[in-house]
């Protein structure tokens, strides 16, 4: 395939120019700034577009910048035109008879991907064998400085082209993947040497540490749970113990009181129980429960008042009579008190005094008889009279006091008799009360009489509540029914038996007075036990607080764990990706070497043979793309490329470029463009290279852009197609002579 023509409109400094090209070598020559590079860049600009659209836009011209080219081979012609500004492309393919076979017109943007672009590139691939601009430039374009200076550059260029990229070296990519992989992990199955742990292993270790700490924390959580259970049990136990203790204290107080009451008046032990049974109100509705509570409270009020719900008709009279009797008794009692005081105040004459006086008088009489017996008679009469007088006075006084005492005693006896009568009446009333089931004590009667006024209201309210509860079909609670409290159950004659049975129960079921000290001791032990449990509870709460603090600190562990997990997942994925990439690329390089390298060797060898005029017939490409050349007729003996001359290396460069291009584009002979590529070569190398290019130009069209006068001379001499740009370089005398001599020959022929 050759480039037949290139037409430029408003393209750089080209206003409207069309250049024709021929087979073989074409030399575009001109001085600097003549437009050689612009012309050369116009070819990929037409084929692939131009990202920098201002680059070729002419100054002060409004026309669209556009270019077109025609490529042809033996089967078809391809005309491609592109408006650089709008990227409108027209591709027309016609056969050798210029019959149009394919016409593609579309906007093919450079930066965007669209169906039109894909179709266009597909057509380029089909007709030219290449659709990648970078590959096009890398293979078919040889610029100034691109000529390899040593064998290593040829090897690298070969590797990159065969990798499928313009400059992406598969070996370097493989190495970079391996480096990155080994930066992540030391787990490299393709690497024999051991390396130190990398980031992945470090993260894994850190995560293992976190797991260990997590396990420790879980154990701590279990400990906290156990502690919480212990604390709960302990709190429950302490609450129960406290309740038991309070009950015990209450019970002890109650039972002591009961025993004291029993011992004091021998009466029934209790009018209430220490612990009322719990009502079963929790299951009913709140209103019903409230009614039942009110009912119970009213009944308790009645019980506390000692009144039954139903009061007998005789009750007020009995209470009034009892009250009257009690008042009478009190009055009689008050009457007896001064009488008894009077009796106690009565003073009888003392007999001792009168006996002493009598004895003294007898003594006086005896003395008189001893001293003066003659006065015995008169003295006896006198003393007898005195004694009779004294004793008569004593008898008078005694009789009088005695009569007063008798009168008082008679009065007291009359009062006592009255009291006895009143008491008997009161006893009868008590019997009547007890027959109704009431307490007959004076205090109870007074209390009942006082409560009797509110009784009517209470009874009325109780009747209402019972009616409501009966309407709700709820059993009316009867206080004392469950608790068998003797004070409430006593509406009937069963009261006594109930009281007696309760007393028996107390004696049988409750503690006896001699057991009370033991009970008090037990209570004290219970109190100590509660204190011990409270100390233990405090210790457990402290332990729990410490563990809770540690668990709070462990929440940060969760954050760290999440970060490490995320990092580990990312690294694992990266490891897998890099591992897969490394394996695939290594295998692909090996597979490509095994399957394609021999074909490449053959292709390069063919070009090399052509370029060196058969001096070198074969080339050997090793797996690392090292090149060894074999001379003709020296089978089995090859020379490394780096050991050969620079001229030979240049030829190998040209041969490999063209061979690889042809290999990559599926056997198409595409034009080869050189932009001042040979300008740095000395004369010998230049001639040698040009000779090789001439030989290669039999298959490939060669288009050289240069300002080198040496090439221009050669072009004249060797009849290349010359396209001058700008001012033609001045010819040297040698060139003029050569031209004249050539013309002379032609003229002589004419």
């Amino acid at each position: 395939m050759i480039l037949r023509s290139l037409e430029l409109k408003s393209f750089g400094q080209f206003v409207d120019k069309k250049y024709e090209f021929r087979r073989g070598i074409n030399l575009v020559i001109g001085p600097n700034e003549a437009g050689k590079s612009t012309m050369m860049e116009a070819i990929p600009a037409v084929l692939f577009g131009c990202k920098d659209k201002k680059r070729f836009r002419p100054w002060a011209r409004s026309q669209h910048c556009s270019a077109s080219l025609i490529l042809e081979n033996q089967q078809y012609n391809i005309a491609i035109a592109r408006d650089i500004d709008t990227d409108n492309v027209e591709l027309c393919q016609s056969n050798d008879l210029y019959q149009e076979q394919c016409n593609f017109v579309a906007t093919v943007p450079v930066d965007e991907h669209c169906v039109a672009k894909f179709d266009y590139l597909h057509l380029l691939k089909k007709f030219l064998g290449i659709s990648d601009e970078r590959m096009f430039r890398s293979s078919l374009f040889l610029g100034q400085g691109d000529f390899p200076s040593n064998s290593e550059e040829i090897k690298r260029h070969m590797r990159t082209l065969l990798s499928g990229f313009a400059r992406g070296d598969s070996t370097l990519v493989l190495q970079s993947i391996q480096d990155d992989y080994l930066a992540i992990t030391n787990d490299a199955p393709w690497l024999n040497k051991q390396v130190s742990p990398r980031e992945l292993e470090a993260v894994q270790d850190a995560l293992d540490d976190v797991y260990a700490q997590r396990e420790y924390m879980q154990q701590m959580v279990v400990q906290v749970q156990q502690l919480s259970q212990q604390i709960e049990q302990l709190q429950h136990g302490i609450a129960n113990d406290r309740q038991e203790y309070e009950k015990g204290v209450e019970y002890l107080a109650w039972i002591q009181n009961q025993w004291q009451q029993e011992s004091s008046d021998g009466s029934q032990p209790a009018d209430h129980c220490p612990a009322a049974p719990a009502s079963a109100e929790e299951d009913v509705a709140p209103e019903i429960a409230a009614l039942r509570r009110e009912h119970n409270q009213l009944q308790q009020t009645l019980v506390a008042a000692g009144l039954p719900t139903e009061i007998p008709v005789e009750m007020p009279r009995l209470l009034a009579a009892a009250d009257g009797i009690r008042c009478t008794l009190v009055a009689l009692q008050q009457q007896t008190i001064p009488l008894r005081k009077e009796i106690s105040a009565l003073s009888f004459p003392s007999t001792k005094r009168w006996l002493i006086i009598s004895l003294l008088l007898v003594a006086v009489l005896a003395a008189v008889n001893y001293l003066h017996p003659q006065w015995l008679v008169s003295a006896s009469v006198t003393l007898g009279l005195v004694l009779a007088l004294c004793w008569s006075r004593f008898a008078w006084r005694y009789r009088r006091q005695r009569s007063v005492q008798r009168q008082l005693e008679q009065q007291i006896a009359a009062i006592d008799l009255h009291r006895e009568q009143e008491r008997s009446q009161l006893k009868e009333l008590d019997d009547d009360f007890e027959s109704y089931g009431f307490a007959s004590s004076a205090i109870a009667m007074v209390k009942m009489q006082k409560q009797l006024q509110g009784h009517e209201h209470i009874v009325h309210r109780l009747a209402e509540i019972r009616m409501i509860l009966q309407d709700e079909d709820i059993e009316v609670p009867v206080l004392g029914k469950e608790s068998d409290c003797p004070s409430v159950a006593g509406q009937s004659k069963q009261h006594k038996s109930c009281v007696n049975s309760k007393l028996d129960d107390i004696q049988r079921e409750h503690l006896h007075p001699d057991e009370l000290p033991i009970a008090q001791q037990n209570l004290a032990e219970l109190k100590n036990n509660i204190k011990k449990k409270e100390v233990e509870l405090l210790s457990l709460l402290r332990q729990e607080a410490v563990l809770q603090d540690r668990l709070t600190a462990a929440e940060q562990l969760g954050t760290t764990e999440n970060e490490l997990r995320a990092s580990l997942d990312e690294l694992m994925q990266r490891k897998e990706v890099l591992g897969c990439a490394y394996t695939l690329l290594a295998e692909a390089i090996t597979e490509f070497s095994h399957t394609n390298l021999r074909a490449v060797e053959k292709e390069v060898g063919k070009y090399l043979r052509q370029a060196t005029l058969g001096k070198y017939t074969e080339i050997e490409i090793t797996e690392n793309y090292a090149l060894r050349l074999r001379r003709a007729g020296q089978r089995g003996k090859s020379s490394a490329l780096e050991n050969l001359s620079r001229g030979t290396i240049d030829l190998v460069c040209l041969a490999t470029r063209l061979a690889l291009t042809r290999f990559l584009v599926n056997d198409e002979y595409l034009p080869f463009f050189l932009d001042d590529a040979l300008v740095n070569l000395d004369s010998d190398r230049l001639l040698e290279t040009v000779d090789a290019l001439e030989r290669l130009s039999k298959d490939h069209q060669i288009v050289m852009f240069t300002h080198d006068e040496r090439l221009y001379k050669l072009a004249s001499r060797r009849r290349w197609h010359v396209i001058p740009l700008g001012t033609r370089p001045k010819r040297t005398k040698v060139a003029q002579k050569a031209e004249v001599s050539a013309n002379d020959g032609q003229l002589s022929l004419l």
Partner: protein, 139 residues
């Protein structure tokens, strides 16, 4: 624009956005911006077949569109393996052609989504490295 499989999890509303037709990253940003609601917490999964030149950079797109959402999370599940570009590449007589051909064979042989994702990322990794080596603008 084609959206599908809108689901709701605890924190995010999940959304699948097919970006096969998008020609560049700004087009993907525009597609994402169409869903913008200031009170929306959304997790957008980008799906579809893409070309190598428009492999979405989720960080860039998230930074571009974050202000339009209450919370935005982008997940790239686009496929380069299924693109025409890669299928064309597999026919090349080059090392990369062999690599891509093998990757396509491997991806067809497996139904494991995680493994498919690994192959997808492997392809991207390789192409990116070759592009970086040759000074391309793909990163």
């Amino acid at each position: 624009m084609s959206h599908s499989n809108t689901t709701q999890d605890d924190q995010y509303q999940s959304y699948e956005l097919n970006v096969s037709h998008c020609v560049d990253e700004s087009a993907i940003c525009a597609e994402v911006a169409l869903l913008a609601q200031s009170d929306l917490s959304i997790k957008i999964t980008l799906v579809g077949n893409i070309d190598i030149d428009i492999i979405p950079d989720t960080k860039n797109i998230t930074n571009c569109c974050r202000e339009s959402f209450f919370a935005l999370e982008l997940v790239d599940h686009t496929s380069l393996l299924e693109s025409v570009f890669v299928r064309e590449m597999a026919q090349e007589n080059t090392v990369r052609g062999v690599v891509v051909k093998r990757l396509l064979e491997l991806s067809k042989a497996t139904t494991n989504a995680a493994q498919l994702r690994i192959y997808e990322l492997t392809l991207r990794e390789l192409l990116a490295r070759f592009e970086v080596m040759q000074g391309g603008d793909y990163s």
